[in-house]
């Protein structure tokens, strides 16, 4: 919802605080998730995630959530789906070039980031979206990625992505994932 989305960036600091805790909890739960099987919990968790984040941030379930690096303003709401800052067409007053009735996602993002403890994360160069992950749970991906650390996989393609965007790999590992994807996540939970 647009109004709640504006609210979230205005209170980015609070959401940042909640997200740090959520992330910690998820990482701590990694062994549990792994025991039950990430595949099995993928759909229910994705459902909850879609509901909550959809309401709060107009989340589009890209599966590679970077909210903590974008001032709590979801970049997938940008009509150009830019992940690294505004385009050159932002209108006077900070409105979107493509949807003039909407505030530019990146004007909100920088506004939100300025209120956050880790404001500098918005300067990180984030990789292009892996479109296969649409609809899957980014929360579970973060849990897996953080837990796996930098353990490399045999998949050279994702390794190259992680190496090309090393900073993002550090701060937003779900945006440059290395861990093995459970089958359900890749297929997308939408179907």
């Amino acid at each position: 919802m647009y109004r709640l989305r504006l609210f979230a960036t205005r209170h980015a600091r609070v959401f940042e605080w909640m997200y740090v805790r959520l992330e910690r909890a998820l990482v701590a739960l990694d062994p549990v998730f792994a025991r039950i099987g990430y595949n099995r919990i993928e759909r229910p968790v994705a459902l909850v995630e879609r509901g909550l984040k959809g309401l709060m941030f107009d989340c589009r379930m890209c599966g590679q959530c970077v909210l903590s690096s974008t001032g709590m303003s979801c970049p997938m709401n940008c009509p150009k789906e830019l992940r690294n800052g505004p385009c050159g067409g932002v209108r006077p007053g900070g409105f979107c070039e493509v949807k003039p009735e909407m505030r530019c996602v990146w004007v909100l993002a920088w506004d939100g980031a300025a209120r956050m403890r880790e404001a500098q994360r918005i300067s990180e160069v984030l990789p292009p979206v892996d479109r296969r992950l649409k609809g899957s749970s980014a929360w579970l991906r973060v849990a897996r990625e953080k837990a796996e650390g930098l353990r490399a996989t045999r998949e050279a393609d994702r390794l190259a992505m992680a190496e090309a965007f090393p900073g993002a790999r550090e701060s937003e590992p779900a945006s440059a994932p290395l861990a093995q994807e459970p089958a359900r996540a890749v297929e997308g939970a939408e179907r």
Partner: protein, 327 residues
């Protein structure tokens, strides 16, 4: 069969001189500390190479490189790749513009190799205007990359010799990487930060959108210098002659990202000869930006007024005329 191929006309792979990414005329000029001039070419709606050469001729006398736009304003024209291929073969310095709007990562990475093989040495990485403002508003907007991921991808191709998939490139493209910045639209405070991100991603030169608001640009440049970015990237300020007050108003409300302050329009309106006044304003802005520390050149965008480019640049005194072509 061999008779059909003239070796002199075939492009070949060359290594750049030491310390350079591409060794393009533009890169050499900038690294030598010369005040560089680039100019935007109006791409033809035609398949005739002659139209490309005709469009390039009035720019070549003063420009270190000619920008071939990539369907700018989301309007269809001859492709940037086609124009650059023709012009580099004829000895012009070119800047191959890539917009993220129309092609995905597969197409773009392939085109980058193709362009480099055709002799292109400079690339400008752009987000691209939305499809809605162009002549085909029903098109699918792609935006698989954004300008920043595009920069990082081409840098990875060049420096690490791999595609983003990790597959090896046997002969990496030798390219001088550019990006755009628009200091005159919101969020003003964060524009220099955004520039830093582009530099971090791989930008080596920057061409800005039109600068008509000097105080705004000066504030931007001051912050850029504070961040030390002027030492890491060559900044070319975007300039251009306005045809009339009416044209200026039209641009301001119809072309994304153009900020023209009211006093500029009022000055045009008050002039007897508005076109001449537009050129005069452009010359003044060029001289003013030249005096700002950290500005390494100008990028002239004279849409449909290309015939004026040489005169404007020479009259401004920022640059001497050079011989056209390589021969």
């Amino acid at each position: 069969m061999i008779d059909l191929i003239d070796d002199d006309l075939l492009p070949s792979y060359t290594q750049p001189p030491p310390g350079m990414s591409s060794g393009s005329r533009l890169e050499r000029a900038l690294r030598a500390g010369k005040f560089a001039v680039t100019a935007e070419l109006n791409p033809p709606d035609s398949a005739d190479p002659g139209d490309v050469f005709e469009a390039a001729r009035p720019l070549a006398e003063v420009a270190d490189a000619v920008n071939a736009t990539d369907a700018s304003g989301a309007n269809c024209h001859m492709s940037s790749l086609g124009i650059c291929s023709l012009l580099t073969r004829a000895g012009y310095g070119t800047i191959y513009q890539i917009s993220c709007r129309d092609r995905n990562r597969i197409a773009i990475q392939g085109d980058v190799l193709g362009a480099a093989a055709m002799g292109v040495r400079n690339v400008l990485c752009l987000t691209g205007d939305g499809v809605g403002v162009g002549d085909q508003p029903g098109a699918k907007p792609v935006f698989d990359f954004d300008s920043v991921t595009l920069l990082r991808t081409i840098r990875t191709m060049r420096d690490d010799g791999v595609f983003l998939s990790g597959r090896r490139i046997t002969r990496p493209p030798r390219l001088f990487l550019g990006a755009a910045e628009n200091p005159c639209v919101p969020p003003f405070d964060w524009r220099p930060e955004r520039l830093a991100k582009k530099v971090e991603a791989g930008a080596q030169f920057i061409q800005t959108n039109y600068i008509f608001d000097l105080p705004l640009f000066e504030t931007f440049m001051a912050r850029v210098r504070d961040l030390g970015l002027d030492r890491e990237v060559f900044i070319l300020a975007g300039v251009g002659p306005l045809a009339s007050a009416r044209a200026a108003r039209w641009m301001r409300s119809n072309v994304p990202g153009i900020h023209i302050p009211d006093p500029v329009i009022a000055r045009l309106e008050g002039a007897k000869n508005q076109a001449a006044e537009g050129a005069e304003i452009c010359i003044e802005i060029m001289q003013a930006v030249r005096a700002i520390p950290g500005v390494a050149g100008v990028h002239v965008m004279a849409y449909r007024r290309e015939h004026l480019v040489s005169e404007i640049v020479l009259r401004s005194g920022v640059r001497q005329a050079r011989r056209v072509g390589r021969r």
